[in-house]
Amino acid sequence: MAPDNRSFIALKKYLKKPVDGLKSIRVAIVADSASQFIHQALKGFGISEGIHYDIFEADYNQIDLQVFDPGSELYESKPDYVIILRSSEKLLKKYYSLSGEEKSQFGANQTAYAKNLYQQISSQLKARVIFNTFPELNDAVFGNFSTKTPSSFLYQLRKLNMGLMDLAQEEKNLFLVDLAALVAQRGYAQFSDAKMYISADMVFSIDILPDLAEQLHKVIQAIAGSFKKCLILDLDNTTWGGIIGDDGLEGIQIGDLGLGKAFTDLQLWAKELKKRGIIIAVCSKNTESIAKEPFISHPDMKLRLDDIAVFVANWETKVDNIRHIQSILNIGFDSMVFLDDNPFEREMVKQNIPDITVPELPEDPAEYMPYLRTLNLFETASFTEEDEQRTKQYQEEANRNILQKSFANEEEFLASLGMECEIKPFDNFTIPRIAQLSQRSNQFNLRTVRYTEDDIRRIAQSPDHFTLSFSLKDIYGDYGLIAFIILEKKSADTLFIDSWIMSCRVLKRGMELLTLKSIIDLAKEQGFSEVTGEYLPTKKNELVREHYPKLGFTTTEANNYTISVADYPYDKNIYIKRK
């Protein structure tokens, strides 16, 4: 069941629930207006989603004090995330106090101030920093002409928002919660309550608090590695209007026909998501050949078969089919979104797969996209070129699955793949992807230590660490970088496997064997006699519980393992050629 976290009163009820056992995240909130309600809303929202935000809230209007004093409570609280909330109202006051000349520089100066804030925090803490963009408060001094007047408030505010976005691009650990976009969607009147602002200096209205908390939560969760990876689409009356089995190819509504525009808009959106790296799957109660026909031959379809990573159309239940899709993609149900117009199907999926997200699509297809846009389902904290290739990689995977069935044994199959692997230490080209894997891998991840790009850069330079990255391709295509290893020198004899992370797309191919062999080779080369490893269990890495014992390591204590470099037998067949 989706938690009730849509009103402030509901959020406050969560504050009374026990937080033991919830994942805890330390957060600091420093604001230029009264922040008690935001504190409560974020905390309540977190609990409703199974996260305990352990919050330090600075006293009222203390941003400079907390940030520029190295001994401040902010730094003492040692947060993982620092949220600095600033309001357009306070910004306006500052702007009015300036001379004409200074006004024209306001956006640039404020951007420099924000950069200064960020750098101060970064010099004291290894935390991620979250600022907000400024909602477009129109002070009505120049009217529409403010768009042509560089010294006007709105002109400078927009400059500042652009400046902040540029800054966030430069600074890897700076993120923005886009209040300007939230206000554009909900309206300033919804967003702020003049009475509360005047009498309590609270700039956010009670009604907007759940939305604000949700956006903060999503930004933090995306950074922490929890986000949606897959969109599963029903077909009839979701992807197109009408029923393909009854109405036929010419009868379904898409493009300019009937309600077609609403469905075309949805398809265009899904296609953009796919380009961004979201996996699109189809789950439909239909005969497969009929269901595929529009994708192949309808001129107005925006989604084509090659956009769909997994296409499931049959007469089994959707619950079974979604489980099937999950098993092919090998990602958690909590990273999937299922769109279906039929409330009965939605309910059944929700009941049986509680972790999956199932939006309550409005009855009127015209409302589909406006509604979906308000949900911000696909928050993310990174974007790389490899994301765009993901669908292709999953399709290649599906082809490999088909091929696998026709070989007598697995060895023969693996040999036929012509796999080649490039192994090398981390470099500037691979570091962004490595950081991304470190952030998002849950299953094949032995210790689940999350590193940022900055961390990875530091490790790559460190004399006490050795690193290996693995890029794989085979006759069906290029997987890109699919695994990495961080080794830490523990003593003159011992090398400790700090990170062993692999993409689940390349399971059951002997990559583990090749990786271990590379580790042993490196250890030998560098004069180490022993390699040790550790398994730290999480909710999601059950897959690798027996990883080290299976590879021939001996258990030293619970979840700790060792292998002797000299005794490594080199007796396993590996079907991956080193490039």
């Binding site: 009163i9 009820k13 008690q36 009475k195 009498s199 209205s205």
Partner: protein, 81 residues
């Protein structure tokens, strides 16, 4: 709407917002009589009352209230207007 009826409805709102089902409002009740009722909750009560009756109070109105009776009167006059 009668004063008594408004008082009963306010009582419901107070119970919901303050999450305390023991609250029994009279016209003489003030913030001193209810433990949870501080300035932060006061704002939430005002917003909840506005929403319930679909009315808007001014900043000076909410500052002038001395007790629940004043609140009920304010509601009554808004609804009557």
């Amino acid at each position: 709407m009668e004063q008594q009826q408004i008082l009963e409805q306010l009582n419901e709102i107070f119970i919901d917002v303050l999450d305390n089902s023991d609250i029994k409002l009279t016209e003489a009740t003030t913030a001193n009589d209810i433990e949870e009722w501080d300035s932060l909750y006061h704002i939430q009560l005002v917003v909840a009352i506005e929403k319930h009756y679909k009315v808007k109070f001014t900043a000076s109105e909410i500052q002038s209230w001395k007790n629940v009776g004043d609140m009920a009167n304010a509601v009554k006059s808004k609804l009557g207007a």
